[in-house]
């Protein structure tokens, strides 16, 4: 619910923010108390709020608090990112913070679907490539990263790796139809026809 209309997304280019760790759940991305609202406005202020507050000093600054990553638009993560709750507040917060694409080893299914529905592409790379990217970005935060949906590739300078996404989701980004409501409303008679042949709708 960011843009009123779906736009074509073929490529995202910008600086990156590495966030290491497997199984980062949506309670961490957006703690539940920030779901007490009737809109998504202002969620960017609470992304990883508790995680940032409790970040061990030995690990330096939390990447979302590290000035060298300010303005980053590509989030680089590891395995099963976004697991847990179906709260769209998690990808909404990331999008509103400025993230325009996620690159990682894998994503939870509901997080991926929520991100797709708001025009935030999540592409998969190999486990090794995700770690390698994080290491490169940590060493040189000013590096520009390019997420090329059309070519199925992620580039960091001369470095390139294959990136993938399920076909239908990829098609939705390339065709600019990730906001699915329009497609789903296209032929209401077809929907009625399915409802009419379901016995639990017609009363057995």
């Amino acid at each position: 619910m960011t843009a009123p209309q779906s736009s074509v997304i073929t490529r995202v280019e910008g600086r990156a923010l590495p966030l290491r760790g497997d199984d980062i759940d949506t309670d961490r991305i957006m703690p539940a108390r920030f779901l007490r609202a009737v809109s998504f406005e202002g969620l960017e202020r609470h992304v990883f709020e508790d995680d940032r507050a409790s970040w061990p000093r030995a690990r330096g600054r939390h990447p979302f608090d590290d000035a060298s990553y300010a303005g980053a638009s590509v989030l680089v993560v590891n395995r099963n990112f976004g697991c847990g709750s179906s709260r769209e507040h998690a990808p909404q917060g990331l999008l509103r913070w400025g993230i325009r694409a996620c690159v990682g080893e894998s994503f939870s299914e509901i997080f991926f679907a929520n991100a797709l529905a708001i025009g935030l592409p999540c592409v998969r790379v190999s486990a090794e490539a995700a770690v390698e990217m994080q290491t490169m970005v940590e060493a040189r935060p000013e590096t520009t990263v390019q997420v090329d949906l059309a070519q199925g590739a992620v580039r960091v300078g001369d470095w390139v790796t294959g990136a993938s996404m399920p076909g239908p989701a990829l098609e939705a980004f390339l065709a600019g139809s990730w906001d699915a409501t329009g497609l789903l409303l296209a032929d209401p008679a077809d929907v009625d026809a399915v409802a009419r042949r379901l016995p639990y709708i017609t009363g057995f």
């Binding site: 609202a37 009737v38 697991c83 139809s177 929907v191 057995f204």
Partner: protein, 474 residues
Amino acid sequence: MGRTLLQKVWDAHRVRRLTTGQTQLFIGLHLVHEVTSPPAFSALDARGWAVRFPHRTFATVDHIAPTRDTSRPFADTLAEAMMAALERNCRRFGIPLWDLSDERQGIVHVIGPELGLTQPGMTIACGDSHTSTHGAFGAIAFGIGTSQIRDVLASQCLAIDPLKVRRIEVMGTLQPGVYAKDVILAIIERLGVKGGVGFAYEYAGDCIARLSMDERMTICNMSIEGGARVGYVNPDETTFAYLQDRPFAPAGTAFDRAKTWWAGMASDPDACYDDRVQLDASSLEPIVTWGINPGQSVGVSGRLPDPRQLAEADRSAVVEALEFMCFEPGQPIAGTPIDVAFIGSCTNGRMSDLREAARIVRGHRVARGVTALVVPGSQAVGRAAEREGLHEVFLDAGFEWRGAGCSMCLGINPDKLVGRQISASSSNRNFRGRQGSPTGRTLLMSPAMVAAAAIAGAVIDVRPLVTSRRERQA
């Protein structure tokens, strides 16, 4: 070649193939609650759309529901604004709302089944990841986000990719004191918290066949904790018996016709699966999580892992979890002191859960220093428990007896952990901060294990308590 239940439901509800290649899938039942729906209704307003099938859409309030003082306006002004928004939206779009003043109110995944809304062969959607619960009836139920709620409100459809099916056969008889919760925690421990991504889990085998509907719901509820968005059990006589005489279930001769259709939706014996897994349940012991995801668990007689004995790839996650929990590598899980005991949630807040917990609690006292609360999953569960006098068993033992809601399962209502408290919880997630304190710690276990921990003040094996009760009764 036979078809699985998933394929049959998919075929019956497919509207068309979208230009993107996704399936446009008709949704037979849409359940709505206060937290994830407001921006979806706003989007409908902004675009001038109506709710396409308001008579297939039902709303209740659960996540923010205070379990003590439910008078309006709520003390929490943000919660009050959400409640008011839900009331306004339901009125405006013609959707039935069961609010706190309605005796049908409760956690959305508890009331759907108990009202007979949830039925075999349906597609169901709800803006909550534990929507997988409804799969216990042989429905295909999707947890969705707010944009997809908008899609379903406006079109009664989802744009979605087909799922693969993994059949999980659970064989053998559970020991006394071992429950459905232990079965699903064992499955998640074995297959991993992301093992189910891309799959629907079909739970089968003689152990599952003997489970009650409440127990099947516990198992399907936590499918998502194993990464599977959808989990289901094929409908059988247990399912049909549960549905008979429920308010929204078909009645009279329609019920008989429904039964025939429902039975026909079950997976065929020669159905083809993408994967199969077997689990022997007879050797399971009560399971307790020790870490910060539901896959990090151990049998109650076991010890926490020692990172030094693990492969390098597995080490960092264990170290991180042990640090957060302040646990020592290799320490036994039994004996871990607890501060809070929580019995409730969409996982384990049903009548059979409360009965089992009360059986353990009867005649005992909650340990000094432990805060213990029982939160029925719905007002109907609360009333049924009071009819049996269970609330008195809990109150006599020093438990708090609360009103229906999500309560301490997640930190979005007044029921929260404080500081570093450790909670023995019958809920579904032990993520850091999940129970409302950023540093709070959660040990997931069955309601009977929570009851035992409340009495002992520490994690203990519930099996001797269950066995001694049975002997005394015999």
